[in-house]
Structures are given as structure tokens and as C-alpha cells.
């Protein structure tokens, strides 16, 4: 079996490469593609090329997993628009990192009665991150968008750590 790089998830789903996709429409498309591609529906016809059927079905499932979450969708968008861009823009502003570190510490030592407030704040931060990302992409400043994605990772991790603690 040779490794063929998977097509980007937007191509798999046949949707435009944009950040904002309608969730309901995306799900409907996933269900339709699954009906068309799933090996269970093709097995009765003795699908000639099993591996191809399998890979196509896996691509559909994996593309759905990527597109349904706005942040993984953003990563896929940047990677599709400019391969290597995400890797090339990993260096973040030290001031931002200092803030992120502070946030992580806040999560680590949060008092139980402050969890709800902190969760709301982290959620707001992530919403703001996404709004800023949308603006970056809108301006066509993809390197900034890439850094934004990397930066939001710290906020997502802080939120996940908080949920883990709670």
C-alpha cells in the first residue's frame, strides 16, 4: 500500500475553502457522502477496488472530523491555502506567551468557587481569538492567522485543563 497524501477536507466535502461553514449544511453533506461512499452500501455490488472504497470512506469520516470543529477547520484551511505556513509561523510574541503562561497558572491554582467565572473568561478569550482569526483571514494576512491558530492552542489547552480539574 502506498501512501497517497489525503486531499484537503474541503475538496473531500466539495465545499468552498472558507472559515465559516454552516454546521447543519455540513452535517447534511457528511450524511449524504457517507451514504454514497460507505463500504456497507457498496459491498453488495462487489466493489472492485476495496482499498479505494475504504480510503474514500476514511477520507469522508476524517474530513468530517476536521471540518466540524472551527479550529481544526482553520488549520486545514491554512494548510490547504499555503502548505507549510503553519510550521513556518510557530514563533509567537513573547508578551503573548507570558500572558498564556499566566493563564495556565491561574487554571492550575484556581479555587473551586472561581471555576465557573474562569471558564466563562476562557471561553470569551477563545471567541475573541476566533473573531480575530476571521479578521486575519479576511485581510489575507495568513501568517498572522497561522500565529493566531497556534496562540489559541494555549487558550484551548487552558480550558481543557480546567475541565479536567473540574
Amino acid at each position: 500500500m502506498t501512501h497517497v497524501p489525503a486531499p484537503d477536507p474541503f475538496t473531500v466535502f466539495g465545499v468552498p475553502r472558507t472559515l465559516d461553514l454552516d454546521a447543519r449544511e455540513l452535517e447534511r453533506r457528511y450524511l449524504r457522502l457517507s451514504r454514497e461512499c460507505h463500504p456497507d452500501h457498496l459491498r453488495a455490488q462487489d466493489a472492485a477496488d476495496c482499498l479505494a472504497v475504504l480510503q474514500r470512506a476514511a477520507e469522508v469520516n476524517d474530513a468530517w472530523k476536521t471540518l466540524r470543529d472551527p479550529w481544526t477547520r482553520a488549520k486545514a484551511l491554512l494548510e490547504a491555502e499555503s502548505p507549510g505556513l503553519l510550521d513556518a509561523n510557530k514563533k509567537l510574541d513573547p508578551a503573548f506567551l507570558a500572558d498564556a503562561l499566566e493563564l495556565a497558572e491561574e487554571v492550575a491554582f484556581v479555587r473551586p468557587d472561581h471555576v465557573t467565572a474562569l471558564r466563562a473568561r476562557l471561553q470569551q478569550t477563545l471567541d475573541a481569538d476566533f473573531a480575530a482569526l476571521r479578521a486575519d483571514v479576511g485581510r489575507g494576512d495568513l501568517p498572522a492567522a497561522a500565529r493566531r491558530v497556534h496562540g489559541a492552542h494555549y487558550h484551548k489547552k487552558a480550558l481543557a485543563d480546567l475541565e479536567h480539574k473540574a
Binding site: P39, D40, A44, N61, D62, K91
Partner: protein, 608 residues
């Protein structure tokens, strides 16, 4: 002239078979409705019992069950507990059975009847043959294909053994289907009702919970969780202990068997009555007289019921949904008749459990529906199932990097890039594990293979793409390929091969109990790897970067300090501090040669 209208091309008939621990049955779907197939007396259930009569006959089903007391050592039941497992693993289980279980070839369990040995597959095949014969007689035509159900937590060896049993019985098994998924299909048969359903399946010996989303005929399993060693038998066991406490200590199998039967009877009566009494006269072996109230029984089983609710919560959490977002709660399995189970589940979910389909028949009916889909008769329904345990690769230091997470919809595939950990390394070992724990030693080893012919390059430079591909039956294929040279290797393995039910359960429980400990151990390994890569990257960068002497000196000093920490086996916190120190220095250097070289070294995870 009147002739009966000829049916158009006769639809392919595929049976749905619930091969149960206690009872088995078949169902079939023609058109929209699935129905169970009954014998001449109108009975759908075939007891999963085989009696090897001393007169040479092999008796299966109800007739065999009737002989159970006459020939206890020649009557085989609960063979589902043995199938696909190793003799050593079922030893304790077998010690409670009245028939003898011996270790056969390759450590597989064999049922010993007189001087003959039977494999669990062969005995299951006899049960399947009886189910098939009953079905064929009810249908008036032969059948050659089937979908057979198993608990969601059955591992690959158990699934494969079940498939083999079907083949021995003259049935081609088109799919091994998870029992809770099948039950959900049976409840959602009208297909008109979209929503999210939780299936709670508490059988005699195992517990499964699955959460499904139904959208216009597409049944998507969102998550599954379970406990392979928790069921109604454990409720019985608690009552047994109460009864045995009133008897002199004994290991007499006759007494144990009688007490077990009495305990089961008590449990069943307590489902309807608030209080049940027991009078058990064992002749010269003793006598017991006791009364149990439902409140006492419920207090005793409450911790077990709580364990099932913990699984429910885990399954819900894995879907990312909230409890109130569930539309339906479906009960499957005889043990869901216990009132406390219903009450606690209802209290947790806030939903009255669905009771529209007989919990004993739901699994077979659902299997018949999936059978009809696989036969190509119904393209309006589609089932999307998930893989129950995560799959990953061992990385440097004995950590497991998960490539495919549990509850991923199958088929699925993931490709990730790895690199080498040593300069001029020309081969890497790829070791594949399954489980939820962070360290390889705590997960189940699935297979190992080697990728050779790597170009001799400094550590971290070769780019090795590793692809995991899981098909619709849950079988894993792994491919590794070096990107520059195209060197390539692959292996196809079953994802849970040889994993015992005990192990699955223990692995799941362990991953919860040890989550914190694992996290720290994993973090320590990660930090160490990162520090080593950082030292290497910085040293290389210093050779090529033209830095002012004072900066070179500062970086060298920090690198040496970190090296010293590594050599002295410093803890994760100290290593982290050392890394941070070095990062601070390299990050502030105007020329970012160093930081880019370090980043590069850190980019790829290293494979041993």
C-alpha cells in the same frame, strides 16, 4: 387465468443472529418489518446449551437444558464466556462450571467431555446450527448468510472466534455487529424519528453503553463504553454471599450451584415484591431460611449500579453532549428488569426508559436490519460504528503516541510524521499498541515491524510518515514510509488481537484511576526528550551560527547546565526550568538561526 404474482428477483435473505450467553435467536427482515423466527411451538429463544448425551446423541437448545441436571458434566452452557480467550484466562471462570475445561493446543480452552475435547467455537457452531435450522424451518427455505452480534467490548480474538463458529455452522458471517448498536437499530426501525439515543445494555455477564445519533436513516454511534465483567451475575453473587454466610464454610459444588440458583430466584422475585423469603434445605449439608427486603438488596447492589452509571457518564462525555440532550433511553438485557437499575438511570438522565421492544429480542431484530442493509436490499439505512479503544505507536522513552482515538468513526485513517532519535540510524522499529493509558507498558501490544533502508542522516532529519488505516470491520493496517528515499514497510493486524475481556476492562479502569499518574509519567518523558533535542539542536546551531562571543558564551553555558541536569536524572520541573532558560536565550537572539534549528529538532517526534 389467474396466477399468483411472481415476486420480482427474490431478495437476498440474510439472518440476524443474537448469539447470547444464555439464549440465542434469529430474526429476519422482509420489507420494512423485522421479525424473530420461532420454532414449531412458537418459541424464539434457543437456550445456548449443548448436551453430549452418553448414548452418543448431541442435543442442543431446550432439550439440552432439560438434561442439565441429569448430566451436569456433559452439558455445556455459557460457552460465550470461553470463546476467543486463552485457557489461562478463563481458569477462574471455568472452576465454577460443572463441566470440565482443559487447556488445549496453543493454550486455548477445550471443553472436556469424557475422552473427547471440544473447542468453544465448535460448541457455539452447534448452537448456531440449531438457530439456523429453526430459522430455515420457519422460513421454509435455506439460508447461507448471517450477521452475528457480540458485546461491543468483545476483542478481535473473540470476534474472530465468533466468525469461525458461524463458518463451522455453515453460515457466512457478513458482519460482526455490536449488541447495543443492534438494539438501537431495532428501536429506531421506523427511521422517521431523528434524535440521540442512549442504549443501556446490562446482560448476565457484561455491561455496554452506546450513544447513537439517528438522522434520516443514518445511525451514527457517537461513543461506546462498558465493563466486560459486570452484569446480573454479580447481583446474584451478592445474594449468594448472604446465603452462604448462614451455612458452614464449604466449597461443595452442589451447594454452590443450589445457592446460586436460589440467589437468582430471590433477585427475580425482588423485582416485583418488596420482600422475598428463601427456604433452602440442603439435607445433611445444612439449611438456610432468610428474608431479604428490596431495600437491603438495593443497598447491596447500589455500588455496582453506580459503576454502570459511571460508564454512562464517560460515554456521554466522549460525545461532547450534555445529559439533557439525549432524546431516548433504551434498555436492553434481562438485568435491566431490576427496578433500581431503571430508577437510577431515569434519575440520571431525566428520561423514562424506552420499553417498546422486548429487551430479549431487540438485539436479534437489529441484527436482521443490518443484515438486510448488507444484503443490498435497503439503501435507506446506514450504520456508522466506532472503534472502542485508541490505537497508537510507541515513541522514544516508552510513551504511546495515540494516532487513532477511541470512538473514532470507522473507516478512518491518520498519517503522522516521525523521525529518528540517533544520528545515522538506518532502521526504525514501529511498535503498535492499543489502549487508553499513556505508557506502552500499560497498553496492549498489537504488533511490531521494522522500517529499513533509511538514509544515514543526523537524528531528527529523516521524515517517516506513518499511516494507520482502520476498515469497517475494525481491522488495522499500518504503513510507514520515509519521505526522501521512499523506503516503505507495512503490516496488517487486528486491532485488539488476543486482548482478553479482563484486559480491556482493566485497561479502561486503569486509565481512569491512573490518569493523573500517567500524565505525570508521560510529561516526564516528554520533557526529557524535549531537553535532549534542545541540547542537540542548540549545539548544532552554534556551529553554524555567527554570534557575538558573549551570546555564544551565554547559550553554551545554558546548554551545559541543561546537559548536566539530564546527566543527573533531574526531575521534570528542573528540566523544564532548564529548557525555559535556554529558550529565553535563544529566542532573544536577533539572528533566529538557533531558534529555527531548535524548533526543527523539536518538530518531529522521535521513534525508537
Amino acid at each position: 387465468m389467474t396466477t399468483a404474482p411472481q415476486p420480482r428477483a427474490c431478495p437476498r435473505l440474510v439472518l440476524g443472529i443474537d448469539l447470547g450467553t444464555t439464549n440465542s435467536l434469529a430474526a429476519v427482515r422482509a420489507g420494512k418489518d423485522a421479525r424473530v423466527l420461532r420454532d414449531r411451538d412458537g418459541e424464539p429463544l434457543v437456550p445456548s446449551v449443548v448436551c453430549f448425551h452418553p448414548d452418543g446423541r448431541t442435543v442442543v437448545g431446550r432439550a439440552a437444558k432439560a438434561l442439565r441436571l441429569d448430566f451436569p458434566e456433559r452439558t455445556v452452557f455459557s460457552v460465550k464466556r470461553l470463546i476467543g480467550r486463552a485457557a489461562a484466562e478463563v481458569q477462574q471462570e471455568a472452576s465454577r462450571l460443572p463441566y470440565r475445561v482443559a487447556a488445549g493446543e496453543r493454550g486455548m480452552p477445550r471443553v472436556q467431555i469424557g475422552d473427547q475435547q471440544w473447542t468453544p467455537e465448535a460448541i457455539s457452531a452447534l448452537i448456531l446450527q440449531q438457530v439456523k435450522a429453526t430459522a430455515e424451518q420457519a422460513l421454509g427455505q435455506p439460508v447461507r448468510e448471517a450477521v452475528v452480534t457480540v458485546p461491543a467490548w468483545f476483542d478481535d480474538a473473540q470476534r474472530q472466534a465468533t466468525k469461525d463458529a458461524a463458518q463451522l455452522a455453515g453460515l457466512e458471517c457478513l458482519r460482526i455487529l455490536n449488541e447495543p448498536t443492534a438494539a438501537a437499530l431495532a428501536y429506531g426501525i421506523d427511521g422517521s424519528k431523528d434524535g440521540t439515543a442512549l442504549v443501556y445494555d446490562l446482560g448476565g455477564g457484561t455491561f455496554d453503553v452506546s450513544i447513537l445519533r439517528i438522522d434520516d436513516g443514518v445511525f451514527r454511534v457517537l461513543s461506546t463504553a462498558g465493563d466486560t465483567q459486570l452484569g446480573g451475575d454479580d447481583f446474584d453473587e451478592l445474594l449468594c454471599q448472604r446465603i452462604l454466610a448462614q451455612l458452614p464454610p464449604t466449597s461443595d459444588p452442589y451447594v454452590l450451584q443450589a445457592v446460586r440458583a436460589a440467589a437468582e430466584g430471590l433477585k427475580i422475585r425482588l423485582s416485583d415484591a418488596e420482600r422475598a423469603e428463601l427456604e433452602l434445605d440442603l439435607g445433611n449439608r445444612g439449611a438456610v431460611k432468610l428474608a431479604v427486603t428490596r431495600a437491603e438488596f438495593e443497598a447491596a447492589i447500589a455500588p455496582l449500579v453506580q459503576r454502570t452509571l459511571d460508564c454512562v457518564m464517560r460515554a456521554v462525555k466522549d460525545t461532547g453532549l450534555q445529559l439533557h440532550e439525549l432524546d431516548d433511553v433504551v434498555l436492553v438485557g434481562g438485568s435491566t428488569r431490576v427496578p433500581l437499575v431503571r430508577a437510577r438511570l431515569q434519575a440520571l438522565t431525566g428520561k423514562a426508559p424506552h420499553t417498546g421492544v422486548d429487551p430479549d429480542l431487540a438485539v436479534a431484530l437489529g441484527a436482521a436490519i443490518q443484515a438486510d442493509v448488507l444484503a443490498g436490499n435497503d439503501r435507506s439505512l446506514l450504520l456508522l460504528d466506532v472503534i472502542p479503544l485508541s490505537l497508537g505507536l510507541e515513541t522514544l522513552g516508552g510513551a504511546v503516541r495515540k494516532l487513532i482515538l477511541r470512538n473514532s468513526t470507522i473507516p478512518t485513517s491518520v498519517t503522522e510524521e516521525f523521525s529518528t532519535g540517533v544520528d545515522n540510524q538506518t532502521a526504525v522499529d514501529l511498535t503498535i499498541y492499543q489502549g487508553e493509558r499513556e505508557l506502552a507498558q500499560d497498553c496492549r501490544l498489537l504488533g511490531r515491524f521494522q522500517l529499513r533502508g533509511l538514509p544515514a542522516l543526523p537524528a531528527g532529519l529523516p521524515r517517516i510518515a506513518v499511516t494507520f488505516l482502520v476498515d469497517a470491520d475494525g481491522v488495522l493496517r499500518v504503513t510507514a514510509r520515509e519521505q526522501r528515499t521512499g523506503a516503505q514497510a507495512s503490516i496488517q493486524i487486528a486491532p485488539t488481537f488476543g486482548l482478553t475481556r479482563d484486559e480491556v476492562r482493566t485497561m479502561m479502569l486503569d486509565s481512569i484511576e491512573h490518569a493523573q499518574q500517567d500524565y505525570l509519567a508521560r510529561e516526564a518523558i516528554d520533557t526529557r526528550n524535549k531537553a535532549e533535542a534542545m541540547v542537540r539542536g542548540t549545539q548544532k546551531a552554534l556551529q553554524i551560527a555567527e554570534l557575538p562571543p558573549d551570546q555564544t558564551y551565554a547559550v553554551q553555558k545554558a546548554t551545559k547546565a541543561l546537559q548536566k541536569l539530564l546527566a543527573g536524572n533531574a526531575d521534570a520541573a528542573a528540566l523544564k526550568a532548564g529548557c525555559d532558560e535556554l529558550t529565553k536565550l535563544t529566542a532573544t537572539i536577533a539572528d533566529d538561526v538557533i531558534s529555527s534549528a531548535v524548533t526543527k529538532a523539536l518538530k518531529a517526534d522521535e521513534i525508537r
